[in-house]
């Protein structure tokens, strides 16, 4: 039976006799498929690139013309401001939500759960339309005695919910829901022992959260947050629904009048690609920074366990 198995694996080889020295000249394996596929891919890329550059439908001259158009640049600025502001505020609100969610207090945790369910369950587009038209539901915002009592302080909804306010509100509330989940994951990833060690040193809840848990959680939180920022850069274009001219909508405003759709979309794509590339580089840097001190990992035993107690004298059981 054993020889049968061997025959299957090695039948076509030249078998060496017991005293033959194995040859020392090695003929390396060629990888014709690998080379061919690489060639095909490179060829396709070059052909595609050639076609893109030479196809005049792309209107590269118009692309160059619009690349630094002041309206486009203003849109880019709006997009960047929206992204930075929404992510920052989403992060803060997300931290609060995450701590609510993992809190012992059932009510707080339930409320946070409801929030996450609602804001992760409906499209951002609809949320934006809702906030924008909030005046149609509640013409005045204010604090009043509930169940039909008189208003104490208040203002016209539209005076409060300006376009930018609505955009930031919508993006932030939505982003916070996603950030909360990321942060929760990060907080749960910090070993319970760290909490105990800090408690044993007499640290208060707040201190141990701020100095021990959060910095360690950040290491887990940072990478997906980077993705959220890049995502936000792109999804923030949904604010065009409330007529806030961000990068994409600025282009749409131009091409809806002059129909130079393709070159304008190319301009916008190039700007987005540039921004996401820069963000990606920053993300890598930040990740590296938060990995400090922990690259060579603080798990005291796990790795060592495998090297341990190798040397042991034992008798074989009878």
């Amino acid at each position: 039976m054993t020889s049968q198995a061997a025959a299957r694996g090695t039948s076509s080889h030249e078998r060496l006799a017991a005293q033959d020295k194995p040859p020392t000249d090695v003929v390396q394996l060629k990888h014709p498929l690998r080379i061919a596929s690489a060639a095909l891919v490179i060829f396709t890329a070059v052909a595609g690139g050639y076609s893109v550059v030479t196809n005049e439908n792309f209107q590269w001259d118009r692309v160059a013309f619009y690349a630094f158009n002041p309206q486009i640049l203003a849109g880019l600025r709006s997009t960047l401001i929206l992204t930075v502001a929404a992510v920052t505020m989403g992060l803060v609100l997300g931290i609060i939500l995450a701590t609510f969610r993992i809190s012992q207090n059932r009510v707080l945790s339930g409320v946070a759960g409801l929030y996450l369910w609602f804001f992760r369950g409906t499209p951002l587009l609809i949320q934006l339309i809702f906030w924008f038209n909030f005046a149609a539901l509640y013409p005045r915002l204010g604090i009043s005695i509930p169940f039909g009592g008189p208003e104490l302080v208040g203002a016209s909804t539209n005076d409060v919910l300006t376009v930018w306010f609505v955009a930031l509100l919508g993006l932030t509330l939505n982003e916070a829901a996603y950030m909360a989940e990321i942060i929760r994951g990060g907080l749960l990833a910090v070993p319970k022992q760290q909490t105990e060690a800090a408690q044993a040193l007499g640290m208060s809840q707040f201190l141990l959260f701020r100095r021990v848990i959060l910095p360690q959680a950040l290491r887990v939180i940072i990478p997906p947050t980077g993705n959220q920022v890049i995502g936000m850069l792109k999804y923030s274009s949904l604010v065009s629904i409330i007529a806030l001219p961000d990068l994409l909508y600025s282009a749409q405003l131009i091409y809806s009048q002059n129909f130079e759709t393709i070159p304008l979309l190319i301009v916008v794509s190039l700007w987005y690609l540039l921004c996401t590339s820069i963000l990606t580089v920053i993300q890598r840097r930040v990740e590296k920074y938060y990995g400090r001190g922990t690259a060579s990992a603080p798990t005291p035993k796990a790795a060592k366990a495998l090297r341990k107690d190798k040397a042991r004298l034992s008798e074989v059981p009878a």
């Binding site: 022992q193 060690a197 640290m203 208060s204 809840q205 201190l207 290491r219 001190g293 690259a295 341990k308």
Partner: protein, 261 residues
Amino acid sequence: MESSNNSPKEPIVRVVDLTKSFGGLDVLKGVNLEVERGEVVCILGRSGSGKSTLLRCVNHLERPDSGAVVVDGFVMGYRAKGGKLHELRTGDAAKQRQTVGMVFQSFNLFPHMTVMENLIEAPRKVQGRGRDELVGEARALLKDVGLLEKENAYPGTLSGGQQQRVAIARALMMQPKVMLFDEPTSALDPELVGEVLEAMKRLAATGMTMMVVTHEVGFARNVADRVIFMADGVVVEDGPPSQVIDNPQAPETKTFLSTLL
């Protein structure tokens, strides 16, 4: 090699009728225990007998179901007033824990802080002491445990034995009245056990009150003033090492020691 403490008869830790259960499992079933000031007490017992739970009750990381732990006259986790125990708010309970230092099996240094930061973080933020004063103290302690040159290293770059010695220094920075050790060497490679035990032995010699859960019978025999043997949630034997280790009375102790020898 009997310890050279001059045992003044004044209990600093008193454990009174302590019970604790998890879910349906009764882990501590009425533990009574006193530790004198300056005494080194080793606690032995097989896995699951409740040793760690006892230590965790002493610094109130676990809340007892009934009974109490009194450290230096104060009931841990409570304020004794008018014949009643008033539960402390978490903030006050946290402050109270300063009197008790604890060293864990798995070191639990803060991986994102250097050794020095690990040492001075709590005394600075909890006790509000000055940085310079603390750095000086920390250096002295690090020198004691032979790690002065590692003050700017991150814990991840240290060996287990080094990490555990830093953990001991970190606990001492809070100037506790009692030090608890929960199997401080059991996560270490055999070569590294010695250096940690040595550091503990030197600490004992300074007159620090210590409660040590350990399986290092050699350490218990040489350093402990008293050895306590726990089984099934109660103390079954309590006496000098010469008695508990070398001449055990309770059947549980006998069986346990025989598996070790």
